[in-house]
């Protein structure tokens, strides 16, 4: 039983990160019907910004700021930085392709992705950077329930993710911007006819999605340390999978999908073998798609490519 619960915690940690990445994919897809393959790189940049702040503050072993200040600062910087990057990508790589055939922005996205990876390689070299979190927030600090140990970092990550997701849900359902996002996602031209500046709404969508990716980047850095130029690729693929399982374009779907993928990976590795954990994930996905062709929460697909 403890083993099962331990895996639940492991799965939720990973799942919350996937969910945050998946949200960016899903929101952008919802509003532009675009698979933003550069999203993983935005997350990578977020992780590097967090690392940069940590290094500037003297590193994890000997920070000039207390962890309680430093960690939020890392999150803030990474979220803003990633958000701005997302807006810039939209402005220069996707907006000129607004009315182009659907697959053209896909190639543009891949171009952005190559560029950002290479830029990170150029600027930060290929060395795998380490947040060294245990120095900052020791793993021994945390909750112990019987034999179960949940470190503070994991709690921090899960709670942050939940807070961000609740904030996003409120934003989308309650605020004027959120409603404009939904209106634009449903019918961009009609939204424009209402005087909604759809370009700005789309930019805002990219900003919010990228902010979440930036937060996910710092989270990965905190719990799973390694930060390097290529980290966005796999995480992007997982986030994308999560978005699809949930029903791409659907915000609660992305959250559920992310958690589901995280849990599936953890339980597959724990009960079967980590050898096949990726295969298990892909099989789940294909299974879900064959049974529910639009994902768990999705709406039927567009017909045209």
């Amino acid at each position: 039983m403890e083993f099962f619960v331990q895996q639940l915690v492991n799965g939720l940690t990973l799942g919350s990160v996937y969910a945050l990445i998946a949200l960016g994919y899903s929101m952008v897809y919802g509003i532009l019907k675009l698979l933003n393959f550069a999203h993983g790189e935005v997350y990578m940049v977020g992780a590097f910004i967090g690392y940069g702040v940590l290094t500037m503050a003297g590193g994890a072993a000997d920070p000039v700021l207390p962890a309680a200040v430093l960690v939020p600062l890392m999150f803030l910087a990474a979220m803003i930085g990633s958000g701005l990057l997302g807006v810039a990508i939209e402005r220069f790589a996707y907006r000129p392709l607004r009315d182009a055939p659907r697959i053209a922005p896909l190639i543009s996205a891949v171009g952005v992705s190559f560029f950002l990876q290479a830029a990170a390689l150029l600027l930060f070299t290929a060395r795998i950077r380490n947040y060294d979190t245990p120095e900052l927030i020791p793993f021994s600090v945390g909750v112990e329930v019987g034999p179960l140990r949940i470190s503070l970092v994991r709690i921090l990550v899960i709670v942050t993710a939940v807070v961000l997701m609740v904030a996003l849900t409120l934003l989308v359902s309650r605020t004027r911007l959120g409603k404009a996002m939904r209106a634009t996602a449903y019918d961009r031209e009609a939204a424009a006819m209402m005087g909604i500046d759809t370009d700005r709404v789309i930019a805002a969508t990219f900003f919010i999605g990228s902010v979440l990716a930036g937060a996910a980047g710092v989270m990965i850095g905190l719990v799973f340390s390694r930060v390097f130029h290529f980290m966005g690729f796999l995480a992007g693929l997982k986030g994308f999978t999560a978005a699809v399982v949930g029903g791409i374009g659907n915000i609660p779907g992305a959250m559920v999908g992310g958690l589901l993928i995280g849990l599936a990976e953890a339980y597959a590795a724990a009960y079967l073998s980590s050898r096949f954990s990726e295969l298990v994930v892909f099989t789940i996905l294909i299974g879900v798609m064959l049974v529910r062709p639009s994902g768990l929460f999705g709406t039927p697909a567009l017909q045209k490519v």
């Binding site: 895996q7 060395r127 795998i128 380490n130």
Partner: protein, 431 residues
């Protein structure tokens, strides 16, 4: 928009002007150089002079390769302490192939930097102006074979360092062999690479057959292992080593559990939780030290007490520092050797920290350059000659510790493995 002919003419005029301006800038540079050469010339103009004096682009344009040298290289011609090399050694090239971008770039970039470093020092010591041709393979054999063809087609490339992966080394073999182009592996350890199938292949690192038994014996005899968890990282290197260690342990009566995890895995915590309480050793034949570091952190997080035993891929004091872990290595810790201190310091100052993949690349580059120099000093600048020279190369004070020579198969003579224990972040030699 209509373009009027007059407009076009103006445009053309501007273009001609621009080209002229650039050309003038080039001449200006040369003038600078000739006047300033007598006294304390700036390095910039110095290099420009050398560039102007050396016949440019020794390669055929179709060969599609261009050398990249660095400033100090060219300066060495008059100031280097070594004697000047024979004239026909001018502009000879050595290829280096590795995963300089892509997901394995952390390995490839370290290899590349050490190769550049080796080239600089070799040129400075021997008064040569050899150069490297760098080619990125992204660890994809398809790219490696294209790159191999590039090397083969460039007549000035006399030896190759790399490629990095065993599967790449296998793929390029049939391309290098007919041209007698020697290639020296710095990280390909698959046993079957040496021993006949790839006659032009050499490697400065011992193969899996050398490391596997050492590790297995140490685990059984010295650490008294009863229950070992082997986790490979789904690479050619890792599965090969694991496949050798596993039966050896089993023969010694050790209970072995085997699992495998993708090299780019984000999280190991579920895997870590499967380490049973009676497991005394976790054997990680991995190549990414940073991943092993996370693995050890997650073991600590979950209160697992088994000992990590890493292969040579984890020998990386800057990245892997799990207290009490063991790491095997084919070389002594060069950062601890007084005779290599100067080298390590010079490298670190120029390129920063490094792990396990650099020093063998340094050695491999040294071997290639030494063989090329020996061949051209002997007056035979051909690939056959270089291939023979590589077999005969002896590097007495190799960065890898012992003198470096090859046996008939192309493997390192007398390969020996060392075992280190990590104590307080230090790698302490225990065998």
């Amino acid at each position: 928009m209509m373009t009027t002919p007059r407009n076009v003419r103006g445009r053309f005029f501007v273009l001609v002007l621009a080209v002229l301006a650039l050309a003038a800038a080039g001449c200006g540079g040369e003038d600078d150089a000739t006047t300033g050469d007598t006294g304390a010339a700036t390095a910039t103009t110095d290099a420009a002079t050398t560039a102007a004096e050396t016949p440019e682009t020794p390669t055929e344009p179709t060969a599609g390769a261009e050398e990249t040298t660095t400033g100090p290289t060219t300066e060495a011609e008059d100031t280097g302490d070594g004697q000047a090399a024979p004239a026909d050694c001018d502009g000879l090239l050595v290829g280096i192939a590795g995963p300089f971008t892509g997901d394995a770039a952390s390995i490839g970039q370290e290899q590349l930097n050490w190769a550049r470093f080796a080239l600089e020092r070799f040129n400075a010591d021997n008064g040569t102006n050899f150069a490297l041709v760098e080619a990125d393979t992204q660890l994809d054999p398809a790219q490696a074979t294209t790159v191999a063809q590039q090397f083969v087609s460039n007549g000035d490339i006399l030896a190759v360092v790399g490629p990095a992966g065993s599967q790449e080394a296998e793929a390029v073999g049939p391309i290098f062999e007919p041209d007698n182009l020697a290639y020296i592996g710095m990280s390909a350890t698959r046993t079957s690479l040496t021993g006949g199938d790839y006659p032009t292949f050499f490697r400065v690192v011992p193969n899996d057959d050398a490391q596997g038994p050492t590790d297995a014996t140490y685990m059984v005899d010295e650490l008294g292992a009863q229950n070992v968890f082997i986790i490979d990282d789904q690479t050619s290197y890792s599965t090969g080593l694991a496949d050798i260690v596993q039966p050896l342990l089993e023969e010694a009566g050790v209970t072995v559990t085997r699992d495998s995890v993708p090299q780019d895995q984000t999280d190991f915590s579920a895997l870590v939780s499967r380490i049973s309480d009676d497991t005394d050793i976790v054997f990680l034949p991995w190549q990414l030290a940073a991943s092993a570091q996370l693995f050890s952190q997650q073991m600590e997080e979950q209160g697992k007490t088994a000992t990590i035993f890493g292969s040579d891929g984890l020998f990386s004091p800057d990245d892997f520092s799990a207290e009490g872990a063991y790491v095997s290595s084919f070389a002594p810790d060069i950062t601890a050797l007084p005779e290599q201190a100067e080298l390590v310091e010079a490298y670190t100052e120029q390129y920063g920290e490094f792990g396990t993949f650099g020093p063998p690349t340094y050695a491999a580059t040294q071997v290639a350059l030494t063989a090329v120099l020996a061949a051209c000093e002997a007056g035979d600048v051909s690939r056959e000659a270089v291939l023979e020279q590589v077999g005969d190369v002896t590097i007495t004070d190799s960065i890898l510790g012992a003198p470096l020579t090859f046996d008939a198969n192309g493997d390192v003579e007398g390969a020996q493995f060392y075992i280190f224990r990590i104590e307080g972040g230090e790698y302490v030699l225990v065998e």
